[in-house]
């Protein structure tokens, strides 16, 4: 199984975009920028909803208004982050694949956080009363928001641990 993954990683590293990002002094920071810009939009839209579900912060908009109003940008952010992340992965796939922090992020944390995110989004947008109870917040909504919030912070933590253990310089 791991051999197949490794073969896939080697293939990624040898794709034209993998070679380009790895070999160019400006393409690596550019891919990182794209990844970070997408993440900013994705995390801000997701975490603002989580915090609203938890009843923390301003209550000018309720969870339903916030979720539907930001829905398109939520997924635009995800798509941009995905493209940037895919380019970064392609440049050094075998290094990434060998790193525990990165494995944890890609195999466990991101799938868990994404599934949770989609469930929360669906429940909120279907206006499930127990979750959104408009002006007030509900116990289940609070827990749902808190769990998603923590999952994304864990994703960031795993990524930072990867960055710190594999201090790759692209100068």
């Amino acid at each position: 199984m791991y051999d197949a993954v490794l073969a896939g990683c080697r293939w990624l590293e040898n794709t034209p975009w993998g070679v380009a990002v790895r070999g160019s002094s400006w393409m690596y920071p550019l891919a990182l920028w794209v990844h970070f810009v997408g993440l900013s939009v994705w995390l801000a839209t997701s975490l603002a909803l989580d915090l609203r579900l938890m009843g923390v912060g301003s209550r000018r908009l309720n969870a339903v208004e916030l979720s539907t109003g930001l829905f398109a940008w939520n997924w635009i952010g995800f798509a941009v982050a995905f493209v940037g992340g895919f380019l970064l992965l392609s440049a050094e796939a075998t290094t990434y694949a060998a790193n525990t922090g990165f494995r944890l992020k890609l195999i466990v944390l991101i799938p868990a956080a994404l599934i949770w995110h989609v469930i929360v989004q669906k429940m909120v947008q279907k206006k499930t009363p127990a979750w959104t109870a408009t002006a007030q917040t509900s116990a289940i909504g609070k827990w749902a928001g808190l769990i998603e919030f923590l999952l994304w912070i864990l994703v960031v933590s795993a990524s930072v641990s990867f960055l710190l253990t594999n201090a790759l310089t692209h100068a």
Binding site: F36, G57, I153, H170
Partner: protein, 157 residues
């Protein structure tokens, strides 16, 4: 001055402790994403391409505390990360440009906040508002661009 800071006892502790440095890094990354994302969403609302069913004021007020909490946390954690290599950072041109762009972006955030109630009362969003929102987006995405260019251009970080 920066060299003295860099060699302070607590800075050495931060620089040599993997856990502590990692923790501050996680706070910095998370806070930056959160602050840039929330302010860009407000600007996108001014451009009229998000949350169109909600008034600008309500969107701005919903996101404003998160922006400033994010900005404050990013500034504090960023300063801590800066101290570890303070002398080198302070002397690096890309780092100075980053600080300048952040300053301009923060001024634009305040200026827009100040005008939001006026723009909200207008029947259509004024052209000035859209232009300023666009400039704000460019500046905030510029802060991230400078952040990723610092290690690429100077080897720092």
């Amino acid at each position: 001055m920066w060299e003295v800071l860099q060699h302070a006892g607590w800075v050495t502790t931060l620089g040599t402790s993997r856990g502590l440095f990692g923790l501050v890094s996680v706070v910095h990354y998370s806070a930056v994403f959160f602050c840039v994302g929330t302010i860009v969403l407000r600007d996108i609302r001014i451009l009229g391409v998000a949350c169109r069913n909600q008034t600008l004021s309500s969107v701005a007020e919903q996101l404003r505390p998160w922006f400033w909490i994010g900005f404050g946390s990013a500034a504090i954690s960023g300063f801590l990360l800066f101290t570890v290599e303070a002398g080198d950072y302070a002397a690096a041109t890309p780092f100075r440009i980053k600080m300048l762009v952040i300053g301009l972006a923060a001024v634009s955030a305040l200026a827009i906040d100040w005008r939001v109630p006026t723009w909200d009362r207008a029947s259509t969003m004024p052209v000035t508002a859209r232009l300023v929102a666009l400039i704000s987006i460019v500046l905030w995405l510029g802060t991230i661009l400078m952040s990723v260019e610092i290690p690429a251009l100077t080897g720092l970080g």
